[in-house]
């Protein structure tokens, strides 16, 4: 969604051509992000050799400030879509930055790992907006990601296993 998409596209902006093909997973209710992604990929193809990208949609796993218990239900529902999708794609790397949409995808990847089907590297970058506290996705994925990146020093102190590279968006 919105801010998350802008941030993640900035994260992608300096990645080499080796990071292909790219699969973008969006919430079904998200209209704006598709426009931003297509525009980014079009611009990218001007300088880098054209590489593949695909957009996929899954049900939104949580509305803003949705209650915890109903979020579990909606996240499980999203997993009905995210698990088959992740299974099909078997990504080498998952890069996410916090929208609820990323949680079912990462859980799916973890399941694939437990089942011995695919070992995906999960990299989580907490949003620049998060200065002192983590988002809910962040709190969950801090324990389940391979690399957890924060953009402010306060968070690095509070979450010692995180990686601090300064502001990267």
């Amino acid at each position: 969604t919105g801010g998350h998409t802008t941030e993640i596209l900035r994260l992608l902006s300096c990645l080499s051509e080796s990071y292909s093909p790219r699969h973008y997973i969006l919430a079904d209710s998200d209209k704006m992000s598709e426009v931003k992604i297509r525009s980014f990929e079009e611009k990218r193809s001007e300088t880098l050799s054209s590489s593949q990208f695909t957009l996929h949609r899954i049900p939104r796993s949580r509305e803003v400030r949705q209650s915890w218990t109903s979020s579990v239900v909606t996240t499980l529902y999203s997993m009905l879509y995210s698990f088959p999708l992740t299974y099909k794609l078997k990504p080498d790397l998952i890069l996410c930055n916090g929208p609820g949409t990323c949680v079912p995808v990462c859980i799916s990847a973890l399941l694939l790992r437990l089942l011995g089907i695919k070992r995906t590297i999960i990299v989580y970058v907490e949003s620049i907006c998060r200065v002192e506290t983590l988002s809910l996705s962040g709190k969950i994925l801090y324990y389940f990601s391979d690399y957890f990146i924060v953009q402010w020093p306060d968070l690095k102190e509070k979450y010692p296993k995180s990686v601090y590279l300064g502001r990267i968006v």
């Binding site: 802008t6 990645l15 970058v125 620049i128 907006c129 391979d146 990146i149 990686v163 990267i168 968006v169």
Partner: protein
């Protein structure tokens, strides 16, 4: 104005921006190099939105106020005290990721 596609054009022409504490608005404005006054409405906002606004104020990039102190802030502000906002460095992320994945 309500739902313009992009405020980028208006932003470029502005001399001063007064905004709510939304992260997108703040960061876009700062990256454009415009002086920014952030109006905080604690009743309406998520706590976490406040975090960024407060940090930006601490670092000297924006002035913060609330609805009732806005006029006073506008009268007494000294925009020259605002520090330029350095751009983020996604290249550092790229380097980190290359190392992690094992790309040379």
């Amino acid at each position: 104005f309500r739902f313009k596609d992009s405020l980028a054009e208006d932003l470029r022409r502005a001399d001063l921006v007064i905004s709510h504490a939304g992260a997108g608005s703040c960061l876009e404005t700062l990256e454009e190099g415009k002086p920014l006054i952030v109006v905080i409405n604690e009743k309406l906002m998520n706590n976490h939105q406040l975090e960024l606004a407060k940090q930006l104020q601490r670092d000297g990039h924006v002035l913060c106020c609330n609805c009732s102190t806005l006029v006073e802030t506008l009268k007494s502000m000294d925009l020259s005290t605002l520090k330029p906002f350095p751009r983020g460095q996604p290249e550092k992320f790229a380097l980190f990721l290359d190392e992690v994945i094992g790309f040379q």
